[in-house]
Symmetry: D2
Subunit: 289 residues, 4 copies
């Protein structure tokens, strides 16, 4: 298929590579042009409008503001060569996803929310878990692309924003898992057990899942840089989850706790580290530093 | 080896069966005698003192009070036929474990704390993860028993109570995982996604670990009875974790949240259900019932 | 002085009455015209622009959106007859206050943030506590108006948004006081003491302050309607406080708790009641209803 | 009346002085004898048993353990010269109060729980607020003593432990007020407003109550030593409140937050300071230190 990608950060680059490897013709645009260069089979284009065309366009941008700036304020939907489907794969708010679905509907461009679970190396390997919601024919038309990028596509119906609610709920679970490991390690260490030994046990037995292994390994090693998933981005996702929860009338006390702890981390200069650095808060609060 | 078990609840029975299957000679005592009957190769005895003898004695009782009543107040350590090692496998407080280590030391009976991760069916299969701390020679002497009961024994040094700190920290992580799934499902459902679909995604991808699969499956199905791990027992473990944390100077805001939610659950009549029924609190708080 | 008021809800009407009583010439505008009628000495005007003129203009609107719609999008600052000072007395976000200060600066209209503490009857009596920040000459020019409306004006410097931070911090303290009374009453009642008797003691001794007497009296009597200060408005203020806190790097765990409890209250249909109805959450959570 | 006091800490000494000033004959015992010396009209005695006699005995000890050691293990109720009424004025657990009521009942000594609100200077001035519960005739018999020590006695029925539930609920409200001021000040300061200016406003207007003035003044001045009410004691009271809440099925999320923050404070070496030093936690968490 003929596909354009807007947003060539580490995730976007991995996805573009997977698409090209699967034989798709990939055009790519990034705000800073070097982002779209140097991937075999991927053709850099000079404007977002050139990428927003063809059989499908994919957006993979940092946040609501970036997506609104490029798609809405950038007037992409008014362009001539609009794509047959827009796959919105960024982690954005439920509210923006709903708005995008509405304005795409008016513009006659099918919009599918398709955020993903997986870090950049997983994107590069084409093994993402893709959470998709939107018009069924559009999702089916995009199937070859989704198969190239993901291990599996999980479908959540026709309302695009549901996929975003799922993505935010999932990211909340990731942050909660890190907080749980942080508190549990702090408890263990305060009783003379090394956090590394404790986490080795847990992440190899009843918590032997990728999230625990990844972040638990980082906490055990005290290895918070370079960031795989930045703490500030995690804080943004918790903010979006709390907004979506408030709007839908859902108390989320765990999300509130991690919100406060992420602020604590950022106020202590750890915003640029990996999300696993949330563990430093529990350490500090027990007087360790 | 010649081993006695004190406490033949569902966990104790599973462990006794595993030991007998491995060829050990097993004596068993339970407060209500029927508990110790009907397992092939396991001989019921009439008193705790008869079980507290031989190559090793194992205690697997419900809580601090039960263990103190039988071992300390029951005067087992003053008996004639004391065992060569005492494996304390109950989930008890760090404080009691420390006290037991001290009084066993004075009585000349090596004491090993060896609490376990795993539900009754895992005990029955001999696949527990055993967390052991205590005098190294005693742990080594008990190795054939530990191998019969467990998939692996994880060692945490010579101070017995460290194993209990690890066990409580681990159980806290279990309850935290259930709370995280509960809040995340509530968020998803409030946006039109079924909790079952959401949990199916999470527990088969980045959270594909036994704890998430077990409890996530129960939450997805709304299946809270019969209890595998009772909610009231979980509340007890969180209380013990918070006590151990307070004593060692560790704030645990997640543990505080689940403490409040477990109280909420018990006050709404769900104390006799499975720990997974914690999910009903998040549901109720968003006005669903 | 010649003053215009924009926003004649219950607070605005009380303030207008106080101003007229003190001899000021008061023009008033409200979105629904009946709001500005029927107060002796207060002249209704047909447009916000007619009110935004004279020696001073006062805005007292429900929230950020209302203020932005009228002042910014309504283009008031581009009008011919602009006032000598704008007193922004609404409870709005720190961010919007900062933005208003900037655009007023460019338009050459001095902007003073002057939110207030006090319910409508206090406004009517001219006994508000006014929290003012902005250019000193502007505050001094407005002194006769502030004296007419308030018992005292508390000044917080030249940066307008500081007054809004103070107002939000104060409103947070009010909600926290209600939550504390709610939990303490629940604890008392669960031990057989009537919450009314308990609150009678506390609010007449070490907590003998207006906030405790007002809300404690309402909780003791179970009297939540009609709302003096609506629960939904309180939830909005907590949201603004949390946003201001996050932006400035301040964890606020109490604010997080009341946020969740206010959502719980709204999800149970109590959003239209008085803020004191927050007490129903603590009651419900202990299984009382 | 002829009264004995057991426990001559700062509170006990103030109460003894008030009693003597009112003309009562006061015997006093303290573990370290110097504690009971040097108050006009107060006669030191050599044993707790000598104080536990006469028309009434008062106990004012630090905690459950001290009271149990002296009264229960010390066998005071088996003594010959038992008092006509025992006023238990210490801040103790609801559970212990219930147990004391039961064993006093069996011993035929009327037991009244009568904990107090007020710092040592208030005790010295005879202006305590006394919270009394127990057999009505016993409370009435003790009326002259209660009048000498207190501004007012608030009665909560015949079940002694109800007074203790009220006392713990009240102390929780004090700690919650400090936490609310701490977070609100942190928010203000992060926006450029001095905490002292902010607290000056609040504690002189809608929060003009003794608790806010006392602790708010200390926070504003950063004056945490010497302790009026020690932070470690406050942590003990929150622990007792949480125990009483758990036992009665009451979630208390605010109490959980302050529990964690008090642990944080103690782990940072502030346990010996005044309870107002809880404010240092909010400061530290926003990265100020």
């Amino acid at each position: 298929m003929d596909v354009g990608i807007i947003g060539m950060g580490r995730m976007g680059r991995g996805m573009a590579a997977s698409l090209a490897r699967a034989g798709h013709r990939v055009r790519a645009w990034n705000r800073s042009p070097e982002g779209s260069r140097g991937i075999e089979g991927v053709t850099p284009v000079a404007s977002a409008a050139e990428a927003f065309a063809g059989d499908a366009a994919i957006t993979m941008l940092a946040d609501d503001a970036a997506l609104e700036a490029v798609v809405v304020e950038g007037g992409l939907l008014d362009g001539a060569g609009r794509p047959k489907v827009h796959l919105g794969m960024s982690t954005i708010s439920v509210a923006l996803a709903g708005r995008l679905a509405a304005i795409h509907g008016r513009a006659g461009v099918p919009y599918v929310s398709a955020p993903v679970f997986g870090r950049p190396d997983v994107a590069e390997a084409g093994n993402l878990n893709i959470v998709a919601a939107g018009p069924a024919p559009a999702i089916e038309a995009a199937a070859p692309l989704l198969q190239a990028m993901g291990a599996k596509t999980w479908r959540f119906g026709e309302e695009a924003q549901r996929a975003n609610a799922v993505k935010l709920a999932g990211n909340f679970m990731i942050v909660a898992a890190i907080e749980a490991m942080s508190e549990a390690s702090a408890l263990s260490e305060a009783h003379g057990v090394s956090g590394a030994d404790f986490l080795d046990l847990m992440t190899n037995t009843i918590f032997a899942a990728p999230v625990y292994k990844n972040y638990g390994g980082a906490i055990a090693a005290g290895r918070y840089e370079p960031p795989g998933f930045g703490l500030t981005l995690g804080a943004k996702d918790i903010r979006l989850a709390l907004q979506a929860a408030e709007h839908a009338g859902v108390p989320m006390p765990f999300a509130s706790v991690v919100r406060d702890n992420l602020i604590d981390a950022i106020s202590h200069g750890d915003g640029g580290k990996d999300l696993a650095a949330l563990a430093l808060v529990a350490d500090r609060r027990r007087g360790r530093t």
